[in-house]
């Protein structure tokens, strides 16, 4: 489960931000998870809560809120926009697992469904980002 490594980055980034803001306690952290990374929500939440236990400043129990962001891709060649969930059906297990580790290999394993170009971009739903931190001073 490489989710652990990403969870660790979230916790460390939250703690760094809280220290900069002089927070004494972190009460709420919102995390966006891109669909392309296909993260197991439960595993990820478990890892976050485990990692949160021994931090300074303290992180409140159940502080983490996860939001899955749907994957959207746009072709730079023809302008077509499509959903990752539609494209995923055409990927085999190895391909989809590779994208789970490194979302950018989607350009290796997939093409624009309209014009066949590999020159498209991930407009939404790439990876894991921290979108808000709340706490008290």
């Amino acid at each position: 489960m490489h989710e652990w490594a990403l969870a660790e980055s979230i916790v460390m980034a939250a703690v760094e931000t809280a220290q900069k803001e002089n927070l004494k306690i972190i009460t709420e952290v919102t995390v966006h998870i891109g669909e392309l990374q296909q993260i197991e929500k439960e595993i990820f939440l478990f890892a976050l809560n485990e990692l949160a236990k021994s931090q300074k400043p303290k992180i409140k129990n159940d502080a983490f809120h996860l939001k899955i962001e749907k994957g959207t891709l746009t072709c730079k060649t023809c302008g077509h926009t499509w959903k990752y969930s539609d494209m995923k059906k055409k990927l085999n297990e190895t391909e989809s697992e590779s994208i789970h580790f490194i979302p950018e290999v989607v350009f290796v394993h997939a093409r624009c469904p309209k014009c066949g170009s590999p020159d498209f971009e991930i407009t939404k739903g790439r990876g894991v980002t921290l979108t808000s931190i709340k706490g008290a001073r």
Partner: protein
């Protein structure tokens, strides 16, 4: 707010690596991958714990040189690179299955960040990086995220190669990055042109690896590679910097 969390964890991932050596050049095809792979093998043979990271995302080559196939990282609190010939080996090839890789610059940076954030190297004496040519995203990201990295620069005897290599050396000097020295690879004469050019920049010239006609046959076979004249020349060059 949207915050990139991966940068926060990279330092921790690299914490137990004693030295990071990026094998770089301003030019392609000069032997960076050969030197990086051979250096990793050489250090592993001397009993060091060694990692090799192939950052040439368009044209990864280290796995071809070392004959690494059918390997995949294990997933455990990140990904643990497989150990082959005593080297912990990480490459994009695990995820691209040898298909062409059309990446733009922003994708390159994202991939490097992801690899650095999720790879669990454990403790290493050396992490060797096989760099792509030039001073683009990969080089800038290594400088940005792998702050302790030292550079080992490769050129051929060609004036054309040295032209590009001089630019790389100048920017490394400007950014105050440690440059271990310059290796002149694939030499066929005893010209001293490269040596003089390197000295002008006050960088250490480390010596020559001769063009080795038998090298191609050893590609893909780590044991045979270790026996080549090129590897013997490299060992002599490396003694100058105590490797």
């Amino acid at each position: 707010m949207t915050m990139e969390p991966r940068t926060s964890v990279i330092e921790k991932r690299l914490k137990n690596i004693k030295r990071i050596i990026a094998v770089a050049s301003g030019k392609g095809g000069v032997g960076k991958s050969l030197v990086a792979s051979s250096l990793a093998l050489h250090l592993a043979h001397h009993g060091y714990k060694v990692g090799l990271l192939d950052l040439d995302l368009y044209g990864p080559s280290s796995h071809i040189i070392l004959g690494i196939k059918d390997e995949f990282p294990t997933e455990e609190k990140g990904i643990i690179p497989p150990t082959v010939h005593g080297i912990s080996f990480m490459s994009i090839v695990y995820f691209t299955q040898e298909k062409p890789s059309p990446f733009r610059g922003v994708d390159i940076s994202n991939i490097i960040l992801e690899l650095l954030a999720i790879t669990q190297w454990g403790s290493l004496d050396f992490l060797i990086i096989d760099m792509p040519p030039g001073i683009g995203d990969e080089t800038l990201d290594v400088i940005r995220y792998m702050k302790t990295s030292e550079f080992l620069v490769v050129t051929t005897p060609s004036k054309v190669a040295m032209g590009a290599v001089s630019k790389l050396l100048k920017i490394l000097i400007e950014l105050k990055k440690p440059v271990l020295g310059v290796i002149e690879n694939m030499t066929m004469t005893d010209s001293s042109f490269i040596k003089q050019e390197v000295k002008k920049l006050k960088v250490q010239y480390l010596g020559k690896i001769h063009f080795d006609e038998t090298l191609e046959e050893a590609i893909g076979n780590a044991d045979r590679l270790a026996e080549t004249q090129a590897m013997k020349n490299l060992a002599v060059v490396l003694r100058k910097i105590n490797l």
